[in-house]
Subunit: 274 residues, 2 copies
Protein backbone atom coordinates (compact mmCIF):
# COMPACT_ATOMS: atom_id res chain seq x y z
CA UNK A 1 0.00 0.00 0.00
CA UNK A 2 2.90 2.38 0.66
CA UNK A 3 4.06 1.95 -2.90
CA UNK A 4 0.57 2.49 -4.30
CA UNK A 5 0.10 5.58 -2.16
CA UNK A 6 3.33 7.12 -3.38
CA UNK A 7 2.35 6.29 -6.95
CA UNK A 8 -1.15 7.76 -6.75
CA UNK A 9 0.36 10.94 -5.31
CA UNK A 10 2.14 11.31 -8.64
CA UNK A 11 -0.91 10.93 -10.87
CA UNK A 12 -1.54 13.91 -13.12
CA UNK A 13 -4.51 14.36 -15.43
CA UNK A 14 -3.33 15.64 -18.74
CA UNK A 15 -6.35 17.67 -19.69
CA UNK A 16 -6.58 16.35 -23.24
CA UNK A 17 -7.63 12.98 -21.78
CA UNK A 18 -10.93 14.62 -20.84
CA UNK A 19 -11.22 17.04 -23.72
CA UNK A 20 -15.03 16.89 -23.35
CA UNK A 21 -14.56 18.92 -20.15
CA UNK A 22 -13.63 22.56 -19.79
CA UNK A 23 -11.01 23.52 -17.20
CA UNK A 24 -13.49 24.01 -14.38
CA UNK A 25 -14.99 20.58 -14.97
CA UNK A 26 -11.54 19.00 -15.16
CA UNK A 27 -10.45 20.65 -11.91
CA UNK A 28 -13.62 19.48 -10.17
CA UNK A 29 -13.08 16.00 -11.58
CA UNK A 30 -9.56 15.88 -10.17
CA UNK A 31 -10.93 16.83 -6.75
CA UNK A 32 -13.66 14.17 -6.84
CA UNK A 33 -11.18 11.47 -7.88
CA UNK A 34 -8.37 12.67 -5.62
CA UNK A 35 -5.99 13.36 -8.47
CA UNK A 36 -3.42 15.83 -7.12
CA UNK A 37 -1.91 17.09 -10.38
CA UNK A 38 -3.18 18.52 -13.64
CA UNK A 39 -1.52 19.37 -16.95
CA UNK A 40 -3.29 22.29 -18.58
CA UNK A 41 -3.78 22.86 -22.31
CA UNK A 42 -3.64 26.37 -23.64
CA UNK A 43 -6.85 26.16 -25.67
CA UNK A 44 -8.68 25.42 -22.41
CA UNK A 45 -7.05 28.42 -20.70
CA UNK A 46 -8.10 30.64 -23.58
CA UNK A 47 -11.75 29.76 -23.09
CA UNK A 48 -11.85 31.40 -19.64
CA UNK A 49 -8.74 33.57 -19.50
CA UNK A 50 -5.52 33.10 -17.58
CA UNK A 51 -6.65 34.81 -14.36
CA UNK A 52 -9.73 32.67 -13.99
CA UNK A 53 -7.74 29.54 -14.85
CA UNK A 54 -5.21 30.36 -12.15
CA UNK A 55 -7.93 31.01 -9.57
CA UNK A 56 -9.71 27.73 -10.31
CA UNK A 57 -6.54 25.71 -9.92
CA UNK A 58 -5.33 27.53 -6.82
CA UNK A 59 -8.68 27.37 -5.06
CA UNK A 60 -8.80 23.63 -5.70
CA UNK A 61 -5.30 23.17 -4.33
CA UNK A 62 -4.16 21.33 -7.46
CA UNK A 63 -0.56 21.34 -8.62
CA UNK A 64 0.21 21.95 -12.29
CA UNK A 65 2.63 19.40 -13.75
CA UNK A 66 3.09 21.16 -17.09
CA UNK A 67 1.50 23.41 -19.63
CA UNK A 68 0.76 22.09 -23.14
CA UNK A 69 2.17 23.35 -25.35
CA UNK A 70 4.84 25.51 -26.92
CA UNK A 71 6.89 24.67 -29.97
CA UNK A 72 5.86 24.69 -33.65
CA UNK A 73 9.11 26.43 -34.54
CA UNK A 74 9.65 25.72 -38.26
CA UNK A 75 8.02 28.02 -40.78
CA UNK A 76 8.68 29.16 -44.32
CA UNK A 77 9.67 32.74 -43.52
CA UNK A 78 11.68 34.52 -40.82
CA UNK A 79 8.61 36.63 -40.08
CA UNK A 80 6.48 33.58 -39.38
CA UNK A 81 9.21 32.01 -37.26
CA UNK A 82 9.31 35.24 -35.26
CA UNK A 83 5.56 35.01 -34.68
CA UNK A 84 5.95 31.45 -33.45
CA UNK A 85 8.59 32.64 -30.99
CA UNK A 86 6.26 35.34 -29.71
CA UNK A 87 3.59 32.73 -29.12
CA UNK A 88 6.11 30.62 -27.21
CA UNK A 89 6.91 33.60 -25.01
CA UNK A 90 3.21 33.90 -24.15
CA UNK A 91 3.23 30.18 -23.27
CA UNK A 92 6.21 30.73 -20.95
CA UNK A 93 4.41 33.56 -19.21
CA UNK A 94 1.30 31.42 -18.80
CA UNK A 95 3.33 28.55 -17.36
CA UNK A 96 4.92 30.85 -14.80
CA UNK A 97 1.57 32.38 -13.91
CA UNK A 98 -0.02 28.96 -13.36
CA UNK A 99 2.86 27.90 -11.13
CA UNK A 100 4.48 25.21 -13.23
CA UNK A 101 8.13 25.23 -14.23
CA UNK A 102 7.56 22.94 -17.24
CA UNK A 103 6.57 24.04 -20.74
CA UNK A 104 6.09 21.06 -23.06
CA UNK A 105 7.43 21.67 -26.57
CA UNK A 106 5.83 19.96 -29.56
CA UNK A 107 8.43 21.19 -31.97
CA UNK A 108 6.45 21.34 -35.20
CA UNK A 109 6.59 19.94 -38.74
CA UNK A 110 8.59 21.19 -41.69
CA UNK A 111 7.09 23.94 -43.81
CA UNK A 112 8.21 22.04 -46.93
CA UNK A 113 9.94 18.82 -47.89
CA UNK A 114 13.29 19.70 -46.30
CA UNK A 115 13.18 18.00 -42.91
CA UNK A 116 16.84 18.70 -42.12
CA UNK A 117 16.31 22.46 -42.33
CA UNK A 118 13.17 22.18 -40.19
CA UNK A 119 15.24 20.43 -37.54
CA UNK A 120 17.74 23.28 -37.55
CA UNK A 121 14.87 25.75 -37.20
CA UNK A 122 13.69 23.90 -34.09
CA UNK A 123 17.13 24.17 -32.53
CA UNK A 124 17.31 27.87 -33.42
CA UNK A 125 13.87 28.52 -31.96
CA UNK A 126 14.77 26.85 -28.69
CA UNK A 127 18.04 28.77 -28.57
CA UNK A 128 16.12 32.03 -28.81
CA UNK A 129 13.69 31.02 -26.08
CA UNK A 130 16.07 29.77 -23.41
CA UNK A 131 17.00 33.17 -21.90
CA UNK A 132 13.35 34.25 -21.87
CA UNK A 133 12.22 31.02 -20.18
CA UNK A 134 15.02 31.32 -17.65
CA UNK A 135 13.84 34.79 -16.64
CA UNK A 136 10.46 33.27 -15.81
CA UNK A 137 11.85 30.19 -14.06
CA UNK A 138 10.37 27.92 -16.71
CA UNK A 139 12.14 24.90 -18.18
CA UNK A 140 11.73 23.98 -21.84
CA UNK A 141 10.74 20.32 -22.10
CA UNK A 142 11.35 18.87 -25.57
CA UNK A 143 8.91 16.06 -26.25
CA UNK A 144 9.96 13.78 -29.08
CA UNK A 145 6.88 12.71 -31.04
CA UNK A 146 6.43 9.35 -32.73
CA UNK A 147 7.97 9.26 -36.23
CA UNK A 148 4.48 8.88 -37.70
CA UNK A 149 3.97 12.54 -36.73
CA UNK A 150 7.15 13.74 -38.48
CA UNK A 151 5.19 15.22 -41.39
CA UNK A 152 2.46 17.04 -39.50
CA UNK A 153 3.39 17.65 -35.84
CA UNK A 154 7.08 17.38 -35.00
CA UNK A 155 10.37 16.78 -36.73
CA UNK A 156 11.86 15.82 -33.36
CA UNK A 157 11.12 12.10 -33.26
CA UNK A 158 13.58 10.43 -30.91
CA UNK A 159 14.99 11.00 -27.45
CA UNK A 160 18.39 11.10 -29.11
CA UNK A 161 17.41 14.20 -31.09
CA UNK A 162 15.82 15.82 -28.04
CA UNK A 163 18.89 15.25 -25.89
CA UNK A 164 21.21 16.46 -28.63
CA UNK A 165 19.48 19.82 -28.36
CA UNK A 166 18.91 19.82 -24.59
CA UNK A 167 22.54 19.12 -23.78
CA UNK A 168 23.58 22.48 -25.20
CA UNK A 169 22.00 24.04 -22.10
CA UNK A 170 21.89 23.56 -18.35
CA UNK A 171 19.53 20.87 -16.99
CA UNK A 172 17.74 23.75 -15.25
CA UNK A 173 17.03 25.27 -18.67
CA UNK A 174 16.19 22.54 -21.18
CA UNK A 175 15.19 18.90 -20.74
CA UNK A 176 13.09 16.18 -22.31
CA UNK A 177 9.69 14.54 -21.90
CA UNK A 178 9.40 10.75 -22.08
CA UNK A 179 5.97 9.82 -23.44
CA UNK A 180 5.65 6.05 -23.70
CA UNK A 181 3.42 6.24 -26.78
CA UNK A 182 6.00 8.18 -28.76
CA UNK A 183 9.19 6.36 -27.81
CA UNK A 184 8.34 2.75 -26.85
CA UNK A 185 9.50 1.35 -30.22
CA UNK A 186 12.95 3.01 -30.12
CA UNK A 187 15.82 0.49 -30.20
CA UNK A 188 17.95 3.06 -28.30
CA UNK A 189 15.25 3.76 -25.71
CA UNK A 190 16.92 2.58 -22.51
CA UNK A 191 20.33 3.96 -23.43
CA UNK A 192 18.74 7.30 -24.23
CA UNK A 193 16.73 7.39 -21.00
CA UNK A 194 19.94 6.72 -19.11
CA UNK A 195 21.70 9.44 -21.08
CA UNK A 196 18.91 11.90 -20.19
CA UNK A 197 19.65 11.46 -16.48
CA UNK A 198 18.83 14.67 -14.64
CA UNK A 199 17.10 16.13 -17.68
CA UNK A 200 13.82 14.23 -17.71
CA UNK A 201 11.11 16.80 -17.03
CA UNK A 202 8.03 14.62 -17.44
CA UNK A 203 6.76 11.09 -17.94
CA UNK A 204 3.53 10.60 -19.94
CA UNK A 205 1.58 7.36 -20.11
CA UNK A 206 -1.03 5.79 -22.38
CA UNK A 207 -0.80 2.63 -24.50
CA UNK A 208 -0.46 1.41 -28.10
CA UNK A 209 -3.19 -0.95 -29.18
CA UNK A 210 -3.47 -2.92 -32.43
CA UNK A 211 -5.36 -2.15 -34.58
CA UNK A 212 -5.15 1.56 -33.95
CA UNK A 213 -8.47 3.28 -34.65
CA UNK A 214 -6.86 6.60 -35.64
CA UNK A 215 -3.27 7.85 -35.88
CA UNK A 216 -3.94 10.99 -33.85
CA UNK A 217 -6.94 10.09 -31.69
CA UNK A 218 -6.13 6.42 -31.23
CA UNK A 219 -4.13 6.18 -28.01
CA UNK A 220 -5.24 3.42 -25.67
CA UNK A 221 -5.81 3.14 -21.95
CA UNK A 222 -2.84 1.78 -20.01
CA UNK A 223 -2.95 -2.01 -20.04
CA UNK A 224 -4.84 -2.33 -23.32
CA UNK A 225 -1.76 -2.30 -25.53
CA UNK A 226 1.77 -3.55 -26.04
CA UNK A 227 3.87 -0.94 -24.22
CA UNK A 228 6.03 -2.03 -21.28
CA UNK A 229 4.92 0.94 -19.21
CA UNK A 230 6.15 -0.26 -15.83
CA UNK A 231 9.58 -1.10 -17.22
CA UNK A 232 9.80 2.39 -18.65
CA UNK A 233 8.73 3.97 -15.35
CA UNK A 234 11.51 2.15 -13.59
CA UNK A 235 13.95 3.43 -16.20
CA UNK A 236 12.92 7.08 -15.84
CA UNK A 237 13.20 6.72 -12.07
CA UNK A 238 16.68 5.29 -12.44
CA UNK A 239 17.39 8.37 -14.52
CA UNK A 240 16.35 10.53 -11.59
CA UNK A 241 12.77 11.41 -12.44
CA UNK A 242 10.36 11.07 -9.52
CA UNK A 243 7.88 13.82 -10.43
CA UNK A 244 4.26 13.70 -11.57
CA UNK A 245 3.20 11.15 -14.17
CA UNK A 246 0.74 12.50 -16.70
CA UNK A 247 -1.98 10.32 -18.16
CA UNK A 248 -2.31 11.68 -21.68
CA UNK A 249 -4.75 9.66 -23.77
CA UNK A 250 -5.90 11.27 -26.98
CA UNK A 251 -8.84 9.11 -27.97
CA UNK A 252 -12.23 10.00 -29.38
CA UNK A 253 -13.92 7.10 -27.60
CA UNK A 254 -12.86 8.49 -24.20
CA UNK A 255 -14.20 11.91 -25.13
CA UNK A 256 -17.54 10.31 -25.98
CA UNK A 257 -17.89 8.88 -22.44
CA UNK A 258 -18.81 10.68 -19.19
CA UNK A 259 -15.64 12.27 -17.80
CA UNK A 260 -16.13 10.75 -14.35
CA UNK A 261 -16.23 7.26 -15.81
CA UNK A 262 -12.99 8.00 -17.66
CA UNK A 263 -11.25 9.32 -14.56
CA UNK A 264 -12.25 6.28 -12.49
CA UNK A 265 -10.78 4.01 -15.15
CA UNK A 266 -7.67 6.18 -15.52
CA UNK A 267 -6.98 5.91 -11.81
CA UNK A 268 -7.48 2.15 -11.67
CA UNK A 269 -5.37 1.43 -14.75
CA UNK A 270 -2.69 3.82 -13.54
CA UNK A 271 -2.24 1.88 -10.31
CA UNK A 272 -2.35 -1.49 -12.11
CA UNK A 273 -0.10 -0.80 -15.10
CA UNK A 274 2.18 2.17 -14.44
CA UNK B 1 16.64 11.76 -72.40
CA UNK B 2 19.58 9.48 -71.70
CA UNK B 3 19.04 9.93 -67.99
CA UNK B 4 15.29 9.29 -68.26
CA UNK B 5 15.89 6.21 -70.37
CA UNK B 6 18.31 4.77 -67.87
CA UNK B 7 15.85 5.55 -65.09
CA UNK B 8 12.85 3.96 -66.80
CA UNK B 9 14.94 0.84 -67.40
CA UNK B 10 15.07 0.49 -63.61
CA UNK B 11 11.34 0.79 -62.96
CA UNK B 12 9.88 -2.23 -61.18
CA UNK B 13 6.21 -2.78 -60.43
CA UNK B 14 5.85 -4.05 -56.91
CA UNK B 15 2.77 -6.15 -57.40
CA UNK B 16 0.97 -4.86 -54.31
CA UNK B 17 0.56 -1.52 -56.10
CA UNK B 18 -1.93 -3.25 -58.40
CA UNK B 19 -3.40 -5.70 -55.90
CA UNK B 20 -6.65 -5.63 -57.93
CA UNK B 21 -4.78 -7.65 -60.57
CA UNK B 22 -3.65 -11.26 -60.47
CA UNK B 23 -0.14 -12.13 -61.62
CA UNK B 24 -1.12 -12.68 -65.24
CA UNK B 25 -2.81 -9.30 -65.41
CA UNK B 26 0.16 -7.63 -63.72
CA UNK B 27 2.61 -9.23 -66.16
CA UNK B 28 0.48 -8.13 -69.11
CA UNK B 29 0.25 -4.64 -67.63
CA UNK B 30 4.03 -4.41 -67.35
CA UNK B 31 4.33 -5.38 -71.03
CA UNK B 32 1.76 -2.82 -72.15
CA UNK B 33 3.45 -0.04 -70.18
CA UNK B 34 7.02 -1.15 -70.94
CA UNK B 35 7.91 -1.78 -67.32
CA UNK B 36 10.88 -4.16 -67.41
CA UNK B 37 10.84 -5.40 -63.78
CA UNK B 38 8.30 -6.88 -61.42
CA UNK B 39 8.37 -7.70 -57.70
CA UNK B 40 6.14 -10.67 -57.01
CA UNK B 41 4.06 -11.29 -53.87
CA UNK B 42 3.72 -14.81 -52.59
CA UNK B 43 -0.06 -14.69 -52.20
CA UNK B 44 -0.28 -13.99 -55.92
CA UNK B 45 2.01 -16.92 -56.73
CA UNK B 46 -0.13 -19.20 -54.58
CA UNK B 47 -3.21 -18.40 -56.64
CA UNK B 48 -1.74 -20.03 -59.76
CA UNK B 49 1.17 -22.11 -58.51
CA UNK B 50 4.91 -21.54 -58.82
CA UNK B 51 5.34 -23.27 -62.19
CA UNK B 52 2.69 -21.22 -63.89
CA UNK B 53 4.00 -18.03 -62.27
CA UNK B 54 7.48 -18.78 -63.57
CA UNK B 55 6.20 -19.49 -67.08
CA UNK B 56 4.18 -16.28 -67.22
CA UNK B 57 7.15 -14.15 -66.18
CA UNK B 58 9.65 -15.93 -68.45
CA UNK B 59 7.39 -15.84 -71.49
CA UNK B 60 6.91 -12.13 -70.98
CA UNK B 61 10.65 -11.56 -70.66
CA UNK B 62 10.24 -9.69 -67.38
CA UNK B 63 12.95 -9.59 -64.74
CA UNK B 64 12.04 -10.21 -61.10
CA UNK B 65 13.49 -7.59 -58.76
CA UNK B 66 12.48 -9.36 -55.55
CA UNK B 67 10.01 -11.67 -53.94
CA UNK B 68 7.76 -10.39 -51.14
CA UNK B 69 8.11 -11.64 -48.52
CA UNK B 70 9.85 -13.75 -45.91
CA UNK B 71 10.33 -12.86 -42.26
CA UNK B 72 7.77 -12.93 -39.45
CA UNK B 73 10.34 -14.57 -37.18
CA UNK B 74 9.18 -13.86 -33.61
CA UNK B 75 6.67 -16.24 -32.05
CA UNK B 76 5.74 -17.38 -28.57
CA UNK B 77 7.09 -20.93 -28.83
CA UNK B 78 10.13 -22.61 -30.36
CA UNK B 79 7.77 -24.81 -32.37
CA UNK B 80 6.06 -21.82 -33.95
CA UNK B 81 9.39 -20.16 -34.66
CA UNK B 82 10.46 -23.37 -36.39
CA UNK B 83 7.35 -23.25 -38.57
CA UNK B 84 8.14 -19.66 -39.52
CA UNK B 85 11.64 -20.77 -40.57
CA UNK B 86 10.18 -23.53 -42.71
CA UNK B 87 7.97 -21.00 -44.44
CA UNK B 88 11.00 -18.80 -45.06
CA UNK B 89 12.78 -21.73 -46.66
CA UNK B 90 9.87 -22.14 -49.07
CA UNK B 91 10.17 -18.42 -49.87
CA UNK B 92 13.86 -18.85 -50.63
CA UNK B 93 13.10 -21.74 -52.97
CA UNK B 94 10.43 -19.67 -54.72
CA UNK B 95 12.82 -16.74 -55.15
CA UNK B 96 15.43 -18.98 -56.73
CA UNK B 97 12.85 -20.61 -59.00
CA UNK B 98 11.57 -17.23 -60.20
CA UNK B 99 15.10 -16.08 -60.95
CA UNK B 100 15.56 -13.34 -58.37
CA UNK B 101 18.39 -13.25 -55.86
CA UNK B 102 16.50 -11.01 -53.42
CA UNK B 103 14.09 -12.16 -50.70
CA UNK B 104 12.54 -9.21 -48.86
CA UNK B 105 12.22 -9.81 -45.13
CA UNK B 106 9.43 -8.16 -43.15
CA UNK B 107 10.72 -9.33 -39.84
CA UNK B 108 7.52 -9.57 -37.79
CA UNK B 109 6.05 -8.19 -34.57
CA UNK B 110 6.57 -9.39 -31.03
CA UNK B 111 4.36 -12.19 -29.78
CA UNK B 112 3.92 -10.27 -26.50
CA UNK B 113 4.99 -7.01 -24.90
CA UNK B 114 8.71 -7.80 -24.84
CA UNK B 115 10.06 -6.08 -27.93
CA UNK B 116 13.72 -6.67 -27.03
CA UNK B 117 13.24 -10.45 -27.05
CA UNK B 118 11.38 -10.25 -30.35
CA UNK B 119 14.34 -8.41 -31.84
CA UNK B 120 16.67 -11.18 -30.70
CA UNK B 121 14.34 -13.74 -32.27
CA UNK B 122 14.58 -11.90 -35.59
CA UNK B 123 18.37 -12.06 -35.47
CA UNK B 124 18.24 -15.76 -34.57
CA UNK B 125 15.83 -16.50 -37.39
CA UNK B 126 18.03 -14.78 -39.95
CA UNK B 127 21.07 -16.59 -38.59
CA UNK B 128 19.34 -19.92 -39.20
CA UNK B 129 18.33 -18.96 -42.74
CA UNK B 130 21.62 -17.63 -44.09
CA UNK B 131 23.20 -20.98 -45.03
CA UNK B 132 19.98 -22.18 -46.65
CA UNK B 133 19.61 -18.97 -48.68
CA UNK B 134 23.24 -19.17 -49.72
CA UNK B 135 22.73 -22.65 -51.12
CA UNK B 136 20.02 -21.23 -53.37
CA UNK B 137 21.95 -18.11 -54.35
CA UNK B 138 19.38 -15.90 -52.63
CA UNK B 139 20.23 -12.85 -50.54
CA UNK B 140 18.22 -11.95 -47.45
CA UNK B 141 17.11 -8.33 -47.68
CA UNK B 142 16.10 -6.89 -44.30
CA UNK B 143 13.52 -4.15 -44.78
CA UNK B 144 13.15 -1.85 -41.79
CA UNK B 145 9.50 -0.89 -41.41
CA UNK B 146 8.25 2.45 -40.12
CA UNK B 147 8.09 2.56 -36.29
CA UNK B 148 4.30 2.82 -36.52
CA UNK B 149 4.38 -0.84 -37.57
CA UNK B 150 6.49 -1.96 -34.60
CA UNK B 151 3.49 -3.51 -32.84
CA UNK B 152 1.94 -5.40 -35.73
CA UNK B 153 4.40 -5.94 -38.60
CA UNK B 154 8.07 -5.58 -37.73
CA UNK B 155 10.24 -4.89 -34.73
CA UNK B 156 13.04 -3.86 -37.11
CA UNK B 157 12.30 -0.17 -37.54
CA UNK B 158 15.50 1.59 -38.58
CA UNK B 159 18.31 1.09 -41.07
CA UNK B 160 20.63 1.06 -38.08
CA UNK B 161 18.97 -2.08 -36.72
CA UNK B 162 18.92 -3.73 -40.13
CA UNK B 163 22.61 -3.05 -40.73
CA UNK B 164 23.52 -4.21 -37.23
CA UNK B 165 22.19 -7.63 -38.21
CA UNK B 166 23.32 -7.61 -41.84
CA UNK B 167 26.92 -6.79 -40.98
CA UNK B 168 27.32 -10.13 -39.23
CA UNK B 169 27.34 -11.72 -42.70
CA UNK B 170 28.88 -11.21 -46.11
CA UNK B 171 27.29 -8.60 -48.39
CA UNK B 172 26.52 -11.51 -50.72
CA UNK B 173 24.42 -13.08 -47.95
CA UNK B 174 22.47 -10.38 -46.07
CA UNK B 175 21.67 -6.77 -46.95
CA UNK B 176 19.01 -4.12 -46.48
CA UNK B 177 16.11 -2.58 -48.36
CA UNK B 178 15.65 1.20 -48.35
CA UNK B 179 11.95 2.02 -48.65
CA UNK B 180 11.44 5.77 -48.59
CA UNK B 181 8.08 5.50 -46.80
CA UNK B 182 9.58 3.63 -43.88
CA UNK B 183 12.79 5.55 -43.32
CA UNK B 184 12.37 9.13 -44.60
CA UNK B 185 11.88 10.54 -41.06
CA UNK B 186 15.07 8.99 -39.62
CA UNK B 187 17.55 11.59 -38.31
CA UNK B 188 20.36 9.10 -39.05
CA UNK B 189 19.10 8.35 -42.57
CA UNK B 190 21.96 9.59 -44.72
CA UNK B 191 24.65 8.31 -42.38
CA UNK B 192 22.98 4.91 -42.34
CA UNK B 193 22.60 4.77 -46.13
CA UNK B 194 26.29 5.55 -46.41
CA UNK B 195 27.08 2.87 -43.85
CA UNK B 196 25.04 0.35 -45.86
CA UNK B 197 27.33 0.84 -48.87
CA UNK B 198 27.50 -2.39 -50.84
CA UNK B 199 24.65 -3.92 -48.87
CA UNK B 200 21.63 -2.12 -50.31
CA UNK B 201 19.58 -4.75 -52.10
CA UNK B 202 16.58 -2.69 -53.09
CA UNK B 203 15.11 0.81 -53.23
CA UNK B 204 11.32 1.20 -52.87
CA UNK B 205 9.40 4.38 -53.59
CA UNK B 206 6.01 5.85 -52.71
CA UNK B 207 5.20 9.00 -50.73
CA UNK B 208 3.88 10.21 -47.35
CA UNK B 209 0.87 12.49 -47.60
CA UNK B 210 -0.86 14.43 -44.83
CA UNK B 211 -3.47 13.60 -43.72
CA UNK B 212 -2.90 9.89 -44.17
CA UNK B 213 -6.15 8.07 -44.97
CA UNK B 214 -5.03 4.78 -43.37
CA UNK B 215 -1.87 3.63 -41.57
CA UNK B 216 -1.50 0.50 -43.67
CA UNK B 217 -3.26 1.33 -46.93
CA UNK B 218 -2.44 5.03 -46.99
CA UNK B 219 0.76 5.34 -49.02
CA UNK B 220 0.72 8.07 -51.61
CA UNK B 221 1.84 8.37 -55.22
CA UNK B 222 5.33 9.83 -55.67
CA UNK B 223 5.10 13.61 -55.71
CA UNK B 224 1.94 13.84 -53.59
CA UNK B 225 3.74 13.90 -50.25
CA UNK B 226 6.66 15.25 -48.25
CA UNK B 227 9.41 12.71 -48.95
CA UNK B 228 12.61 13.89 -50.64
CA UNK B 229 12.60 10.89 -52.99
CA UNK B 230 15.17 12.14 -55.47
CA UNK B 231 17.61 13.08 -52.73
CA UNK B 232 17.29 9.58 -51.32
CA UNK B 233 17.81 7.99 -54.74
CA UNK B 234 21.03 9.92 -55.11
CA UNK B 235 22.12 8.68 -51.69
CA UNK B 236 21.47 5.00 -52.44
CA UNK B 237 23.35 5.39 -55.71
CA UNK B 238 26.28 6.93 -53.86
CA UNK B 239 26.07 3.86 -51.64
CA UNK B 240 26.51 1.70 -54.71
CA UNK B 241 22.95 0.70 -55.53
CA UNK B 242 22.06 0.98 -59.20
CA UNK B 243 19.51 -1.84 -59.45
CA UNK B 244 15.76 -1.84 -60.03
CA UNK B 245 13.59 0.66 -58.17
CA UNK B 246 10.30 -0.77 -56.98
CA UNK B 247 7.16 1.32 -56.88
CA UNK B 248 5.34 -0.07 -53.86
CA UNK B 249 2.18 1.88 -53.07
CA UNK B 250 -0.23 0.21 -50.69
CA UNK B 251 -3.36 2.29 -51.12
CA UNK B 252 -7.00 1.28 -51.35
CA UNK B 253 -7.81 4.16 -53.69
CA UNK B 254 -5.32 2.81 -56.26
CA UNK B 255 -6.84 -0.64 -56.00
CA UNK B 256 -10.25 0.85 -56.73
CA UNK B 257 -9.04 2.27 -60.06
CA UNK B 258 -8.38 0.48 -63.36
CA UNK B 259 -4.89 -1.01 -63.20
CA UNK B 260 -3.84 0.50 -66.54
CA UNK B 261 -4.68 3.98 -65.31
CA UNK B 262 -2.57 3.33 -62.20
CA UNK B 263 0.41 2.07 -64.22
CA UNK B 264 0.33 5.08 -66.51
CA UNK B 265 0.41 7.39 -63.52
CA UNK B 266 3.10 5.33 -61.80
CA UNK B 267 5.34 5.62 -64.82
CA UNK B 268 4.84 9.36 -65.20
CA UNK B 269 5.36 10.13 -61.52
CA UNK B 270 8.37 7.82 -61.39
CA UNK B 271 10.12 9.78 -64.11
CA UNK B 272 9.15 13.13 -62.56
CA UNK B 273 9.87 12.50 -58.90
CA UNK B 274 12.29 9.60 -58.47
Amino acid sequence: MTVDRSLSDRLSLNQITTDQWNLEQAVDGCLRHEIPWISVWRHKIEEIGLKQAKKLIQDAGLSVSSICRGGMFPAATAKERGERLDDNKRAIEEAAELGTDTLVLVCGPSAGRDIATARLQVAEGIDHLVPYAKDYGVKLAIEPLHPMFAADRSVINTLNQASNIAERYQPSEVGVIVDVYHVWWDPQLYQEMDRAKGRILGFHVSDWKVPMPDMFKGRAMMGDGVIEINRMRQAVEQAGYHGPIEVEIINQSLWDRPGDEVLAEVKQRFLEHV
